[in-house]
């Protein structure tokens, strides 16, 4: 009671070198970040890395200096040999006989062969950063006592503070509260009073996501770009170049806009904007952009280019505009749909429609009973949800529904999906039914080739010159191109194609070319991967009948801004409608997986309702020389007890044993005659993915080219796709981390349901079984006698203790 203010932490009297997060200021415990000119301590507080590492990672800084009063004096950490200052690469090696160590970078200096001759021991190289903090002999870790008495800062606060520093480098933690940055946006609701309230809640979330995206993209400027020039068939200049940083951060996609600038002295400075037409793949790391204008292109120069990402607000603007239209324009959706979407009680309505005699559509496979039921039901309802678990023929069902909707003669049908790939797949299927389909692409994507390019509006217009109607149209087109693309002209262009079906992405439905058109029937495929405002873009074009297709038991929409995600932007409209009590019609027959592979996902994720449309015989690769522990079950869990996870090797976030085992399995499959493109490897972390790719190419027993054709990616990249064989690597990061991504049931579901002919999971069963869902999976594999260990040539059942499965609560 004597000193009540003792616990109250006060930053103002602290020395300059106090940790900018927690205030700890023992000179032996702090490090100076050369880039942001701030000090941070080597204590973790309640986070998974020390404060200095937290800062370096979040600020993307790499160089540091030690304090002059610390044990090593004022020292800039750098490689003794090459001067490299990236602390993520630095480590030390001892002399063979003397008590002396030297700082060297991991590559190439610590690998140079003549080090050995000079009495150094390079095999002892160890990184300066271990388990996400600096080695304690280099920078002391503040005592637990000191850490507890310093300011307790959470990872959330660290994030916010780092964000704040981007605008105001002098900001203090106290400023967080003052600026209201700490405020959370209003949570999404289950029901809304009206569309104004709906807009008032979603509008700010879309804004948050837009701001986040903008900041991220605009921070991606890269210099020292070396360019190679070419000219496309359309006479436009194409620039090829590689990025020094991996593409992971840029997350470039076809159609993205980049600005290339010349800053050299060989000619006057130049800047030009172009669309991405090629991204890095397994074969080449090059990126290509097609420039909008050829004027002044410095074709003779190759060096001294700078690259900026051009952020476009289009998709966010279209979401905001859809929310607004929904609120103010009562003709934007039919009353029934309006109230249903807002969660109001409405009496059910059956639509008048002439049900077809035959439900299967021409050109498409015959429907099974649950597909027929789905088609029949949705045709009579104004609002329906179709849930398509993996491999159940969702796209065929959607295409068939669209076919029959067109036959009802209610005007053209609008078909959307969040991604271009999904739209293309569906477009192809609908085209097979003989309907007149137009694929509407963003202008920036017109140069990109796809399997349905011939259905793209711009190509259809070009090919229809022979028709007098279209001749007129071409004139009109030229006219309006001149008149700066008048909306009316654009709408006429689409009308002239007399299309039965318009296919585009959800965001594409906000294209001005559709603005003057009305679509009473709308189908959205993969709708569980779209945010709610994204889904609303096609809906507000006069919708009277809405069909949402998807699977809320697989991955949901990607929302980058954590705040917006927390507030509920990552919940899809489909999911909310399910919670509101609209029962999805579930497709129940799966045609992808060997029955042994579908059984677990069916029981855990779909209440055991999945039936198999394929027999075991159809999904066994006859003559495949592969050591399945149970010949009738093409699956096993390969127990791997890699100790690297907690070692101090510096690559503790990697699991070498697991990567080596995955490589052996892949090699064995290749040897048995499986084509590399039929194998998929799923790894949870980017670090492990890159390591896996390299490991296979350099250590694999077979030709490097074969391994290059094997797709190694995250679960998310495999959603909506299938492979013959899937190898799943389960590495967790290390002792300060839980099982991370593997906790998400939806992700596990996707991972387990990609393979047609076989699944092999590689991981540590003991560690994984601590998590309820994994415990069930492991128990299942054990019951099937498919939990094994040992060399591939003589796999034996693994009897390691795993926890008893607890009951799963949905």
């Amino acid at each position: 009671e004597e000193e009540p203010e003792e616990n109250q932490f006060c930053m103002k009297d602290l020395p300059k070198h106090a940790c900018s997060y927690c205030g700890i200021h023992d000179p032996a415990c702090v490090v100076y970040c050369n880039a942001s000119k701030k000090w941070f301590c080597n204590g973790r507080g309640n986070t998974s890395g020390s404060h200095i590492i937290n800062h370096l990672v979040r600020a993307k800084a790499k160089e540091v200096t030690l304090h002059k009063d610390g044990p090593l004096g004022e020292t800039v950490l750098e490689c003794y040999n090459c001067g490299c200052r990236n602390v993520f690469l630095l480590g030390f090696i001892p002399a063979k006989a003397e008590s002396v160590v030297v700082l060297l970078c991991r590559h190439p200096c610590a690998n140079l062969s003549n080090l050995k001759d000079m009495n150094w021991d390079p095999s002892q190289w160890q990184p300066l950063i271990n388990d996400r903090s600096f080695l304690s002999w280099l920078v002391k870790v503040p005592s637990e006592q000191d850490q507890l008495r310093s300011r307790q800062i959470t990872a959330q606060q660290i994030n916010k503070l780092e964000e704040l520093w981007k605008d105001n480098p002098d900001a203090k933690l106290e400023d967080l509260e003052r600026t209201g940055l700490d405020e959370e946006p209003t949570q999404v609701q289950l029901r809304y009073d009206d569309a104004y309230q709906y807009q008032n809640i979603f509008g700010p979330l879309v804004k948050l996501e837009a701001d986040y995206d903008k900041r991220l993209k605009e921070s991606q400027t890269q210099d020292n770009i070396v360019t190679r020039w070419d000219t496309g068939l359309n006479k436009k200049r194409i620039a090829y170049f590689c990025l020094s940083k991996a593409n992971d951060e840029m997350k470039l996609m076809h159609g993205d806009e980049l600005r290339l600038r010349y800053i050299g002295e060989l000619q006057k400075s130049w800047s030009g904007v172009g669309h991405v037409i090629k991204i890095p793949d397994n074969h080449s790391d090059e990126i290509a952009i097609e420039l909008k204008s050829n004027a002044g292109v410095p074709e003779n120069c190759t060096h001294n280019f700078v690259l900026d990402f051009v952020w476009k607000s289009t998709s966010f603007d279209r979401m905001q505009s859809a929310l607004k239209t929904f609120a103010v324009d009562d003709s934007s959706v039919w009353g029934y749909i309006y109230h249903k979407l807002l969660g109001h009680e409405v009496e059910d309505i059956v639509l008048k429609c002439t049900l077809p005699k035959r439900f299967s559509a021409p050109g498409l496979p015959e429907l099974n009973h649950s597909q027929v039921y789905a088609v029949k039901t949705v045709l009579q309802r104004p609002l329906s949800l179709i849930q398509g678990p993996p491999g159940t023929g969702k796209t065929v069902t959607s295409a068939t529904v669209v076919y029959h909707m067109v036959k009802q003669n209610n005007g053209p049908v609008l078909v959307c999906a969040p991604s271009n790939i999904a739209v293309d797949q569906l477009t192809e299927k609908i085209h097979k039914t003989g309907l007149k389909v137009v694929r509407l692409c963003a202008k920036s994507r017109e140069a990109i080739d796809s399997p349905v390019s011939f259905l793209a509006l711009h190509n259809q217009i070009r090919n229809m010159d022979t028709l007098p109607e279209l001749n007129k149209l071409q004139q009109l087109k030229d006219e309006y191109d001149r008149l700066n693309n008048s909306e009316l002209g654009r709408a006429k262009e689409i009308k002239a194609t007399a299309a039965d079906v318009i296919c585009c992405t959800c965001v594409g439905a906000g294209d001005p070319r559709l603005a003057k058109l009305q679509f009473s029937s709308v189908l959205i495929d993969e709708s569980t991967q779209a945010t709610e405002p994204e889904c609303m873009i096609p809906v507000i074009l006069g919708c009277r009948q809405l069909i949402l297709v998807g699977d809320h038991c697989q991955l949901g929409p990607v929302v980058m801004c954590k705040k917006a995600a927390r507030a509920g932007l990552s919940q899809s409209l489909f999911e909310r409608l399910v919670v509101l009590g609209i029962r999805p019609i579930r497709l129940q027959v799966q045609y992808r997986m060997h029955p042994a592979l579908s059984s677990f996902p069916s029981n855990i994720f779909y209440e055991g309702s999945l039936q198999n449309g394929v027999t075991a015989a159809e999904r066994i690769r006859s003559g495949l020389d592969f050591p399945w522990p149970q010949p009738d079950k093409p699956m096993f869990f390969y127990s791997t007890f890699g100790t690297e996870e907690i070692s101090s090797s510096g690559t503790s976030y990697l699991n070498r044993t697991e990567a080596a085992n995955i490589e052996k399995l892949a090699t064995r499959l290749l040897r048995a005659g499986v084509k590399p493109e039929q194998i998929g490897i799923i790894t949870p972390y980017e670090g492990q993915r890159a390591y896996q790719v390299q490991h296979m190419q350099y250590n694999g027993a077979l030709n490097k080219k074969l391994y290059m054709e094997i797709e190694v990616a995250s679960v998310d990249a495999f959603q909506g796709r299938e492979k013959d064989f899937i190898l799943l690597s389960c590495v967790r990061s290390n002792e300060h981390q839980g099982i991370g991504f593997l906790n998400d049931p939806r992700r596990l579901n996707v991972a387990l349901t990609r393979a047609k002919y076989g699944v092999i999971i590689v991981g540590n069963p003991k560690m994984l079984s601590r998590q309820t869902l994994w415990c069930h999976l492991l128990t299942y594999y054990r019951e099937q006698k498919c939990l094994v260990e040992g060399p591939l040539s003589s796999l034996k059942e693994c009897f390691v203790n795993i926890s008893k499965p607890r009951k799963l609560v949905n």
Binding site: G45, S48, G49, E98, V100, M118, R132, G738
Partner: protein, 126 residues
């Protein structure tokens, strides 16, 4: 009156999305750094890192128990404080073009120190 021990609870990791994100960002950064390095074709100076003679003599001395440069009493005190024994080392760094040698201590708990000790003992036996 009683000399009650103050029990300080170890700071606990607060599991949250932001922390998970940090961990994957860390992996990413480590990986990007390594990738960028292996892809770059680096012009590295020829290695010529001889162990300086003054270090040779000094460390030999240090390696002998009881004859360290630092005061023996101090050493004892340090041991008491940290509860562990450390190994004396010399760190070689560069300040501009000048070589810099700094004495420091690696706690015996560090994996590296243990290994060093084992090797040293093995050599003594020979």
């Amino acid at each position: 009156e009683t000399d009650e021990e103050v029990k300080v609870l170890k700071p606990k990791v607060a599991v949250c999305k932001e922390d998970d994100d940090f961990m994957s960002a860390f992996d990413q950064m480590m990986n990007d750094s390594i990738q960028a390095r292996t892809q770059e074709s680096l012009k590295v100076p020829h290695v010529d890192i001889a162990i300086p003679t003054q270090v040779k003599n000094k460390t030999k001395k240090l390696a002998l128990p009881g004859q360290g440069i630092s005061d023996k009493e101090d050493e004892e005190k340090d041991k008491e404080k940290s509860g562990t024994t450390g190994l004396k080392f010399v760190l070689m760094t560069r300040k501009g073009n000048k070589q810099q040698l700094t004495d420091f201590e690696i706690p015996m708990t560090a994996e590296f120190a243990t290994k060093f000790k084992e090797r040293e003992e093995a050599e003594k036996l020979e």
